[in-house]
Amino acid sequence: MTTALPRVDVAPAASAKRRRRAPGWLAVVPLLAFTAIAFGLPALAMLNGAFTVKDQATGAASYSGANLSTSLQGAYLTALLGSVKLSAVSAAIATVGGLLLAQAVVTSRFRVLREAVLTASGVLANFGGVPLAFAFVATLGNSGVLTGRLSLKDAGWDLYSFWGLTLVYLYFLVPLMVLTITPALEGLRSQWREAAQNNGATHVQYWRHVALPVLTPSLLGGFVLLFGSAFAAYATAAAMVGSTVPLITLQIADALSGNVLVGQENVALALSLDMVVVAGLVMAVYLPLQRRSSRWLA
């Protein structure tokens, strides 16, 4: 190492490359080895299991697509579609709500309000899971504070339903959207608005022809991110609805713990593979959109 230092003046690029390759590799190897074992092994096990069919009588295993086709039929298909519908609806509502809230906050003159909303969004976007479920059960559940006081039950309200779950999901999806879209809104230059107004554009025309086209990649990217986040959510639904709303995550958990039928573990793995495919599609759409929107934020 020390002998390499004087050479830097002579041929910096070449020697620097040679000198640094060794520590670069050495420092990265533990990380790659760890992910190969802790992530690669389960992923391969899932892939292998999803295509393996075990004969209950003989115990012999063979490869086939039977698990996958089972996972796309009957109750499993209903659950998959239920998850997609719930994620799409809640992500769409959260995209609009998050955009409105972020715009209200970004253009606000009160710095404190801005900081408070952004900090709160950081907390609430991570406030998925169990505490969120119980906060809503306490508020709008069967014996919830508001349910009793506003006699919502008579009005047909049920928290343990599709729309109840949507309402709960918005609690972490809207803040996530605020966090995602705020940099894009900050990237809208005030000169663009002024230029549009000087040319006689109305407020609506400015949004229709200038702001929204610039924001579209960010909005779509945010929607996709929210969709993926809602799609993968399990804890909230499990703690809240049990299985009254058919969701793929709940089906996987049931099949894994053998609640429904013995020997459904491999169907659980096939369902997991379905989820990975959907999540992979989500990322495949999200990443290019994010790259495109970041062009405007420079």
Binding site: V123, F127, T249, L256
Partner: protein
């Protein structure tokens, strides 16, 4: 100028409505939770809160979660920090490999991940019962300290830690720092610990906090592998003690909030460029 101000005036009622609706939606469940947890047939009682500490399983599950969080944070930083710093110094091809590897966990939802883990764990008794690997698989499933959860949590934390460290490293000139330290006679570990890490304080805190929040709130993996850390405990008691489960939920939100505000106070002030990440 007159037009600009007038257009700004016109937007204001809309903004007030949006902000009010958001305030109602986000604050009412919190307020209602507090009311729910102290309301006992019409009069106020803080029993649900005072009983938490003595509740069956509270200490054990919280301690388990904190131990898991500490180990996860230590392991993920130990793996990620040297790798990320080394990548800043060279090896551009590896850089994209690590970026992809660290974002792969985003494509595998926790529930799918745990399905894979439980399959691997089942190989132990099925195929490996005569090999030393079997002992390892048994050991990482120890009821008192399930190391398998740490393995899972480190993987799940990788994307967040990568983002936080990447943003932090982008804000400093790693190469100059390391070369300065090296030419002053520091060894590689010394250069890392005494020159680079102090400049990464905000990013390290950020990464640690995100990991802590992830581990403390994690339910899916622990529940399906059959362990009972904090989040699983809250669900387990909810049937018998609904009020207490809500009280614990309120407290855990408050703790998260305080931690994040502390983080913002320590790390946020120095690096405005990092807030976007």
């Amino acid at each position: 100028m007159a037009r600009l101000t007038s257009s700004r005036m016109r937007v204001r009622p809309g903004r007030a409505v949006v902000l009010a609706a958001a305030a109602v939606y986000f604050l009412v469940p919190l307020a209602a939770s507090v009311v729910f947890s102290v309301d006992s047939g019409g009069h106020v009682t803080f029993e649900a809160y005072s009983q938490i500490v003595g509740a069956d399983g509270f200490t054990a599950s919280l301690l388990l979660s904190l131990e898991l969080a500490a180990t996860t944070i230590a392991l993920v930083l130990l793996l990620m920090v040297p790798a990320m710093v080394a990548l800043r110094l060279g090896a551009p091809k590896l850089r994209s490999v690590v970026a992809v590897v660290c974002s792969l966990p985003l494509v595998v939802p926790p529930i799918a991940f745990v399905a894979g883990i439980s399959t691997v764990l089942k190989w132990g008794p099925e195929y490996l019962s005569r090999t030393p690997l079997f002992q390892t698989i048994v050991a990482i499933q120890n009821e008192n300290y399930p190391f398998v959860l740490v393995l899972a949590y480190v993987v799940m934390a990788l994307p967040f830690v990568y983002q936080a460290l990447d943003a932090g490293l982008r804000a400093i000139d790693v190469r100059t720092l390391v070369e300065a330290a090296r030419s002053c006679g520091a060894s590689w570990p010394q250069a890392l610990v005494r020159a680079v890490l102090p400049n990464l304080r905000g990013a390290l805190l950020n990464a640690s906090f995100l990991t802590l929040a992830l581990v403390l709130g994690e339910f899916t993996v622990a529940h399906l592998l059959g362990y009972e850390p904090f989040a699983v405990w809250i669900v387990d008691i909810s049937g018998a003690q609904a009020q207490m489960s809500v009280a614990v939920s309120v407290l855990s939100l408050l703790v998260t909030w305080v931690l994040l505000l502390a983080l913002a106070a320590v790390g946020g002030r120095r690096a405005p460029s990092r807030t976007a990440a």
